[in-house]
């Protein structure tokens, strides 16, 4: 009995961080911005920098120049440079843009990173095959917060 209670308590504790995450469907956008951290905690800027350059994750540099990452080759120029992004946007606004920029810029070409659909002809990653069911968002809540933590350091 005592053992079972302890096991139960351990399970609750293990589940806590996940419970604090805001599921995609419950994210509240106010003028495109998201006020609260999606994880309930601050992100890790160094981890964010990795997400932003990883082709399978954020790959922000595919479309944006980040001068603070001079060792990352072939930075794209589809979107605006991210230099000084934190001078132009608040943390809440940056969070909203990373999660789903279409709330800030109507019709934006930028992919929505914290969204689960609906999509037209959703595929299974880059396989070209279809995907049945609900796709997980491109980035996890934690990864979004990590990216936001990096972006708020981009001041000129």
């Amino acid at each position: 009995m005592k053992q079972q209670m302890m096991l139960g308590a351990a399970l609750v504790l293990a589940a806590l961080p996940a419970m604090a995450e805001t599921p995609v469907a419950e994210v509240k956008y106010v003028d495109g911005a998201i006020a609260e951290s999606l994880t309930g905690a601050p992100g890790d800027a160094a981890a964010g920098a990795k997400v932003m350059t990883n082709r399978g994750q954020g790959n922000c540099v595919a479309c944006h120049v980040i001068s603070a990452m001079p060792d990352v080759p072939f930075q794209g120029n589809i979107g605006p440079t991210l230099d000084g992004a934190a001078d132009r946007w608040t943390e809440a606004e940056l969070r909203g843009i990373v999660a789903d920029a279409k709330h800030t810029f109507e019709g934006s070409m930028m992919p929505s990173f914290y969204k689960t659909g609906p999509y037209i002809r959703q595929g299974d990653g880059y396989t070209g095959k279809g995907f049945e069911g609900t796709l997980p968002p491109i980035l996890t809540a934690e990864q979004v917060e990590d990216v936001v933590a990096y972006l708020v350091t981009l001041k000129e």
Binding site: C63, M109, P111, Y119, I120, Q122, Y126, G128
Partner: protein, 285 residues
């Protein structure tokens, strides 16, 4: 000597321009094949796409100097090896009827002009056909031979050899009559944002040609060079194969090569390139 000096200067200038402005196409360069045939790489848009593009630009203009040069000399153009295979296949008897292409069509030069008009409605008038459809129709119905795979090496060799016959001719597809609904379907596809990345053809090839996604220099996605020798694949690549790759890269479920959807898209994209010279055959990175 003087000529060499000028060439060197032009090359140095091209490097400077490429370094300074990423929103090129390259300016002041002409696509002249073998020092002899000048191809149209810039043209005013047709009425049907005038609202979409200020100027119609060949993908050749978006490539680096070395890649552009490769296409300007048939001895340097790696696609010509496949074209030679295609010319040989033209004369090769295959199938139960003991026929080659040449048995009915004579010299392959009889195909002159065909590439510029494709895709088009078939003889029965009930389907839109790409060049691959016409080839496989001949193979299965007239030659008694097996159909070739849409993007297999025999097929791309043949489409390459046939396309070469139209080199320098202006692209001009029919988009009226029974082709009109195909064109409308293709246009709708062009502007539909697919996959988890929610990207349409237009996002990259209408709104952002000249810009870079990572190392990829975006062109208008014109078809005038197809089939193209793609250095990345080290072989001739079909139009539908490239469509497939693009749609896949939006994290979407692609369409099949040869599908009605891709044939409709091919017609619409071809119409966006009206007036560009058929390059027969292009070289791309």
């Amino acid at each position: 000597m003087l000529r060499q000096g000028r060439t060197f200067l032009a090359a140095a200038l091209a490097v400077c321009v490429a370094g300074a402005a990423s929103a090129d196409p390259v300016e002041g360069e002409e696509l002249v094949i073998n020092g002899d045939i000048t191809l149209v790489t810039r043209v005013a848009p047709a009425a049907s796409v005038a609202d979409a593009l200020p100027e119609v630009l060949s993908g050749w203009l978006f490539r680096d100097e070395a890649t552009r040069a490769m296409e300007m000399d048939d001895f340097d153009n790696p696609a010509m090896l496949a074209v030679d295979v295609g010319l040989e296949l033209w004369d090769t008897v295959d199938g139960s009827e003991g026929k080659s292409c040449a048995s009915c069509h004579g010299d392959i030069s009889s195909m002159k002009g065909l590439r510029a008009k494709l895709p088009k409605m078939n003889a029965a008038g009930d389907d839109l056909w790409s060049m691959e459809n016409f080839i496989n129709d001949c193979r299965t119905n007239r030659m008694g031979a097996d159909a070739w795979k849409w993007s297999g090496s025999e097929m791309t060799a043949m489409t390459g050899a046939i396309s070469l016959q139209s080199r320098g001719m202006p692209m001009s597809v029919a988009i009226d009559g029974p082709a009109a609904e195909w064109w409308a379907k293709g246009k709708e596809m062009y502007y539909t944002r697919t996959g988890q990345l929610e990207l349409s053809c237009a996002n990259c090839h209408e709104d952002n040609y000249g810009n870079h996604i990572r190392a990829d220099h975006l062109s208008q996605g014109q078809l005038s060079g197809f089939p193209v020798y793609r250095l990345k694949n080290a072989k001739l690549v079909s139009i539908h194969n490239r469509f497939k790759g693009c749609v896949r890269d939006t994290r979407a479920e692609t369409y099949a090569e040869g599908s009605p959807e891709f044939r409709a898209l091919e017609l619409y994209v071809a119409s966006r390139g009206e007036g560009l010279s058929i390059e027969g055959v292009g070289v791309r990175p």
